[in-house]
């Protein structure tokens, strides 16, 4: 009995070394049947995941977003706050269907003022969340917002918490996020930290995802795509911090009727300019999954410079 445990230990350490040599991340191992993930995450209940439904995306996260604890969501620009909130609401809608508890959306008053207040009719249309199941909390100061979130996470009453802040802040450091993470883990409640216009700093969240708006899909009429229509909203999701897999990038679409995410297939092109021509490409992972080839190298035809890139005073350059 003891010898077999020692043998397993040896095997695990050998696999560590092999993983290092191969350039994979050490937390991922192929088990006996090939798809078992050995994961080292503090107290994360195995198997309780918020799966988006997009298979390759979920697999990159090792099964989905954690069903409890802190997850960091970044919206790089103020204009992406709508997309980021829509993405999180899509994840939370699963929980709302599962339980009868309400959702809490905590935010800085400033972030609501700048990026818009939650609009319950829109949330109902897009995610099917009954407005009666939504509570909004706001405060002027970040310390107060964090206090509200911590109090909310420490009671066993909310199906999920969305904590929205704006700008970089010294208060949201490793200690503060660890507190939030522990509280949310203990309550078994997912806490999404939605940060607008913040830089990626070390936090206690196991996952960090950067969300940017992507051109929406098209509506379909009689089975055919309808030109120039704005269909299901799409998100360019970059998994920025992931202990299981290397960083990767996906385009996910939210289907408001099926209320599910799906990955945009390459055969479903959207005839508009691509979203991320000015963005840095994700680090190319050696020989592993990548949702789509990075568009950064080639500027596609029809690519239009945005107003932010070409301010008026620079003229025609």
């Amino acid at each position: 009995m003891a010898s077999s445990a020692v043998a397993r230990e040896t095997i695990v350490s050998l696999r560590h070394q092999i993983a290092k040599i191969e350039g994979r991340l050490a937390e991922t191992f192929a088990g006996e049947n090939g798809d078992v993930h050995l994961r080292r995450q503090d107290g994360l209940p195995q198997g309780d995941f918020l799966a988006t439904g997009a298979e390759r995306f979920d697999a990159a996260l090792g099964g989905g977003f954690p069903g409890a604890g802190l997850t960091e969501i970044h919206a790089t620009g103020m204009r992406d706050a709508g997309a980021a909130a829509g993405f999180v609401m899509g994840l939370l809608h699963l929980l709302v269907e599962r339980t009868s508890s309400p959702l809490l959306w905590v935010g800085l008053s400033e972030s609501f003022r700048e990026a818009g207040y939650p609009y319950p009719p829109g949330i109902r249309f897009l995610h099917g969340i009954d407005p009666a199941r939504l509570l909004i909390a706001q405060a002027q100061k970040l310390n107060d917002v964090l206090w509200i979130a911590e109090q909310a996470a420490s009671i066993d009453g909310f199906a999920g918490i969305l904590l929205e802040t704006r700008g970089p802040s010294a208060h949201l450091d490793l200690t503060a996020t660890r507190r939030l993470h522990r509280r949310a883990l203990d309550a078994g409640c997912p806490l999404f930290l939605l940060r607008q216009m913040a830089v990626c700093e070390p936090t206690a969240a196991p996952f960090r995802v950067v969300i940017t708006s992507a051109p929406a899909g098209t509506r379909h009429l009689l089975g055919k795509p309808l030109a120039r229509s704005i269909g299901p909203p799409a998100f360019l999701v970059r998994i920025d911090k992931n202990r299981i897999n290397p960083p990767s990038e996906f385009i996910l679409e939210w289907n408001a009727h099926a209320r599910a995410f799906s990955e945009r297939a390459a055969t479903d092109p959207v005839p508009v300019v691509p979203a991320s021509q000015h963005r840095a490409a994700a680090a190319a992972a050696p020989g592993t999954i990548l949702a789509f080839s990075s568009p950064a190298g080639s500027t596609p035809a029809g690519g239009q410079p945005s107003g932010e890139q070409h301010p008026a005073h620079r003229g025609h350059g």
């Binding site: 706050a81 709508g82 829509g86 609009y119 829109g122 897009l126 009666a132 909390a137 009671i155």
Partner: protein, 510 residues
Amino acid sequence: MVSRQENNTQRIAAMDEEAARLGLKPGMGIADARAMHPGIEVVAEEAKADRRLLEALADWCDRYTPLVALDGAEGLFLDVTGCVHLFGGEEAMLAGMLERFSEQGFRVRAGLASTPGAAWAAARFSATGTILQEGDERSFLENLPLAALRIEARTISGLESVGLRAIGMILTAPRAPLARRFGSLLLLRLDQALGEIEESISPRLPVAALSVERHLAEPIGLVEDIERLLLLLSGSLRRDLERRGEGARLFELLLFRVDGAVSRISVGSSLPLREAGPVGRLFHERLVVLGTALEPGYGFDLVRLSAFETARLDMPQADLAGAGNTQGEDIALFADRVRARLGTASVLQPHLAQSHVPERASLFVPFDGGAGPPQPPIAHNPERPLRLFARPEPIEVPLTEVPEGPPRNFRWRRSVHRVARAEGPERISPEWWLTSAPDVEADETKTDKDERETKREAAQKEAVAIETARMTRDYFRVEDTEGHRFWLYREGLYGRKEIVPRWYLQGVSA
């Protein structure tokens, strides 16, 4: 000396003993007084400050009884029925009260009697500290002047002109002629002072359903001490509430400072509360926010916890594992604590309203622990953005493809967005039935009344049509070249020279 503006002249409103010794009298003109004694010092009266001082004193008197009423600009009524034994009897209570007042630097006159009228007279027309036993009112009042009756000066001078100078004379006079000549108020006051007609004072503050208090020999000042004491008080309050089968939704903590200032801290809860723990936590949040604003000074020597707005509260039966269905309560308590610390607007609940104007369709109401106001049935579920700005933000639209169409590009918050795709318009008309009809002036040159009326109606219809066209919105869902989806609208229709359409961005979509 304090002066007061009265009928365009400055008169003496109040003065100290030294001024009285000089022969001055209240009501005298300041100019006369100055002529007599040029050295007097005159200060303008501040009625509001006096009022505040009197209210602060009334607050302080709360320590004796919850029934404290203001009496005019200079007096206080205290209904001490049932409170006397707590302070060691009537004499001890009155003596202690007078002593505390004089320690604070006030000179007060006090009287105690079984009716408010007699007490009023005793405080003003006899040695201070007079206590009238029940039944002694008649003999006490007999010798007092008419001013002791709380009646108008005009009535007093009227009575004096017919030779009735003391209350005793009125008591023996026939009642009917008195009432006919001087009004019923005179007899009412007389009866009230004698206790033949019940008179109740109206307390200035609502009376708590239950309150517990603790007198402290050694004043406390630390917040931790207050919280510890608070737990003890709410523990004994809990027993009383439990006996009544009730919980309270509003708690008030009164802290009586040694030097007479009184701090009131109140917390509300959305569900009736009884347990000491949650009540203590709610007060904890308030005390944290107050912080140094509490100003304990030399410490508090009396702490009282009162419960208002009691409501029925049945203990829910816990299941065998010992856990009841406390989820809703948890959230209500969480919301209470957030509100106690950050104000009522900090926890909000969406409420959908019956309106097709987007910003009116949804509003936020403070969360009250329940399901909130009833939600209207969902008539239809239109496509709407995920986030809406507090008010629509103006955008610059230089060019549209067709006059009534979506913009080609627009400038919002100092950056230009090129529209890649657009859907719309969705036309939303103003809610004309909520606004009043515009006023239209009739054309006065027309002489015929009917013709004038017809013209006026036509002009009014025209004004309504223009207003409607001005307020009509065409909404577009647009996506810019970077993939951001916006919800914007043009307000005002084209085609009328008096209307200039304007563009606004109202929301962002996922």
